[in-house]
């Protein structure tokens, strides 16, 4: 590199007046005795001056410089980047709200924000409500602290607007209420769908269309389904997005009472998911929900719980119900029905007592007893059982607990003699005939001569 090149490379910094003093000295000295480099400097100034034409306006700003020049710009702005525009508007509004007096006076005043018109605010509110369905809602319920913090920040930011309308939207977001969808449907969905079609980024467009369909799902499910189909057909979306669209379809089918259709979509979707997928939980939930009907084949119901487990989405109450469903012992069938009634409003003590009474010694009976003992769905502790056996108001429950205690003595602690004593009492004293019969069966299996003799004399 020639000394001239070294100087020339520094000229832009010289023009910026940002050369360190030593280099500045060197460059100035060189220029004072080199005509060629001086000419270059002039030429650079000339080029730089011509490049002012590169400075172009930023779209979407309603400053007087650009506004109203042509109708075309207006239409264009109405089309493109709706989501981005909404974000801008919200932030602009937030800043404007603060500048209007909500902020302490000591804050440095940033450049004034463009005032948001009523229409802008409506669009912003609609987009916000739409975003709610897929984003804020998801963010608020996300297991990630960061996501929840982001949702809270968004909500804070928006509440700073001070506009009642938007504040109400935020309140709804926080309350997790469903009617945001309804409220936003008419205003937001069409705008979003329109924006989706015009986004350069097709994936973002597909996402927006999905939001639009979700917004519209309650108000106009047929059109929402058309849009969801459009995502797959026209947007060539990524797999996760395609799955979200399918899930949205299943939800719409469920809401309309088309359970077979929802079931089919959900089972295919579930089979396609990996554990930890953001959709794993919601899909598993809906699949269990759609099969949680009295008429549904128990095997199908069990399969839904198994799927939930594979997806890492099995809640304790699901695990409990699965254990009950899997209990095929003869005593259990009636108890199942009682559990089915009791569990949605869990725990209904009467129903539990009844279930326990109907199915002593079975998985269902044990679970009912555990719940009665206040041990939740975990197996009841020995002291809980003893307490129930001694102090429960209901004689039946006392018997059931005593039977459970005897079973434990027998199978867990192998204290056969002690177990026999309790079983003998139950076999003859239990008011609950199921318990008495179960105790006699057990004693017979143990080969208890005393009981045999008594039973024989009884007969």
């Amino acid at each position: 590199m020639s000394p001239h090149d070294r100087i020339l490379d520094r000229l832009p910094l010289l023009l910026d007046n940002d050369l360190p003093p030593v280099e500045m000295q060197e460059v100035i000295e060189h220029l004072s005795r080199c005509d060629a480099c001086r000419t270059e400097l002039d030429a650079m100034r000339g080029v730089a001056a011509r490049l002012v034409t590169l400075r172009r306006p930023v779209p979407g700003r309603s400053s007087s410089e650009f506004a109203g020049r042509t109708g075309r710009r207006e239409r264009r702005n109405a089309r493109i980047g709706r989501a981005a525009a909404a974000a801008f508007l919200l932030l602009a509004g937030a800043a404007a709200g603060y500048l209007a007096g909500a902020r302490p006076a000591s804050r440095p005043a940033p450049a004034p924000a463009p005032p948001a018109s009523g229409r802008d605010l409506r669009i912003a509110a609609a987009s916000l409500a739409a975003a709610t369905v897929n984003d804020v809602e998801r963010l608020i319920s996300s297991p990630e602290d960061d996501d929840r913090a982001l949702a809270a920040r968004l909500a804070d930011l928006l509440s700073a607007l001070g506009h009642d309308e938007i504040a109400r939207e935020i309140a709804r977001i926080r309350d997790g209420r469903d009617d945001i969808r309804q409220g936003a449907a008419s205003a937001g969905a069409d705008l979003l769908a329109d924006a989706a079609r015009h986004l350069v980024d097709r994936e973002a467009g597909a996402r927006l269309l999905l939001e639009a369909a979700t917004v519209l799902a309650d108000a106009d499910p047929d059109r929402a389904i058309d849009w969801l189909d459009l995502i797959a057909a026209d947007f060539d979306p990524s797999r996760p997005l395609l799955r979200q669209a399918r899930f949205a379809r299943a939800r719409i089918a469920l809401a309309r009472g088309r359970e077979p259709e929802a079931d089919e979509t959900l089972s295919r979707l579930a089979a396609d998911l990996a554990p930890g997928d953001p959709l794993a939980h919601p899909v598993a939930r809906r699949l269990i929900e759609v099969r949680d009907r009295p008429g549904c084949d128990p095997d199908l119901r069990l399969a839904a719980y198994d799927m939930a487990e594979r997806l890492g989405a099995l809640r304790p109450v699901d695990a409990l119900r699965r254990r009950i469903l899997a209990d095929r012992s003869p005593h259990a069938a009636a108890a199942h029905r009682i559990f089915d009634d009791a569990l949605p409003g869990w725990p209904d003590l009467d129903a539990l007592a009844l279930a326990a009474r109907l199915a002593p010694g079975t998985e269902t009976g044990r679970i009912a007893l555990g719940l009665l003992a206040g041990a939740g769905d975990a197996p009841p502790a020995p002291e809980d059982i003893e307490r129930l056996a001694r102090t429960h108001d209901d004689r039946d429950i006392r018997d059931l607990a005593a039977f459970e205690a005897a079973e434990r003595l027998l199978f867990e602690r192998k204290e056969i003699a002690a177990a026999r004593l309790r079983l003998r009492t139950l076999a003859f004293d239990a008011t609950n005939i199921s318990v008495a019969l179960a105790a006699r069966d057990r004693l017979a299996a143990l080969g208890d001569p005393w009981t045999d003799a008594l039973l024989n004399t009884e007969r």
Binding site: M44, L51, A171
Partner: protein
């Protein structure tokens, strides 16, 4: 919401930070858009990139402490968001960078007062890095110091790249108009 009593101190701080960010964002919006436009070449995509940047900034508010300026921080987030979009587009089309970047299209601004097709074409023909620096300098209005920080290069390198860009531009635009008198917009 307002009737739920005064917010807890922690939340107050959060929303203060968010409001600061909002104010800085609004103030810097045009600059951020120009930065994104310098990378992506289109207004639509720049708008999307700025929107990405905003979400990232909201997520990153917690890490803001100790940053020198909010605007600088937002600028670099925006630049990164724009590069991510460029890379995504490149992957999508499976084409080399040059082909993936569209010629500077901009149907909405052909009516802009100072448009000069010759200058645009000349800038378009520059190597990508030089083109980006020229745009950041003359569309974005950034100083070389800021450009260097944004691109994570030394000021010397930024200056040298710009000098070379000026020389190519001068050759392309022809000596007659480029030399001497600054161009006066009509």
């Amino acid at each position: 919401m307002s009737d739920s009593g005064p917010p807890a101190p922690a939340r107050r701080l959060e929303s203060d930070a968010a409001a600061d960010l909002a104010a800085a964002f609004v103030a810097a919006r045009d600059r951020l858009h120009r930065i994104a436009r310098a990378v992506l070449g289109s207004d639509d995509e720049a708008q999307d990139a700025v929107s990405d940047a905003l979400l990232r900034a909201l997520r990153g508010i917690g890490t803001l402490a100790g940053r020198d300026t909010m605007t600088g921080w937002l600028s670099s987030i925006t630049h990164r968001a724009a590069l991510d979009r460029l890379n995504a587009r490149r992957r999508e089309s499976d084409l080399p960078a040059e082909a993936a970047r569209p010629a500077f299209h901009d149907d909405s601004h052909t009516d802009t007062l100072h448009r000069d097709g010759e200058v645009d074409a000349a800038v378009e023909s520059l190597p990508p890095r030089q083109r980006e620096i020229v745009r950041l300098r003359h569309d974005g209005g950034l100083r070389l110091r800021e450009i260097a920080a944004l691109l994570d290069i030394s000021m010397g390198t930024a200056s040298a790249q710009l000098a070379r860009a000026y020389r190519s531009l001068r050759r392309r635009l022809g000596a007659s108009k480029a030399e001497g008198t600054p161009h006066e917009p009509a």
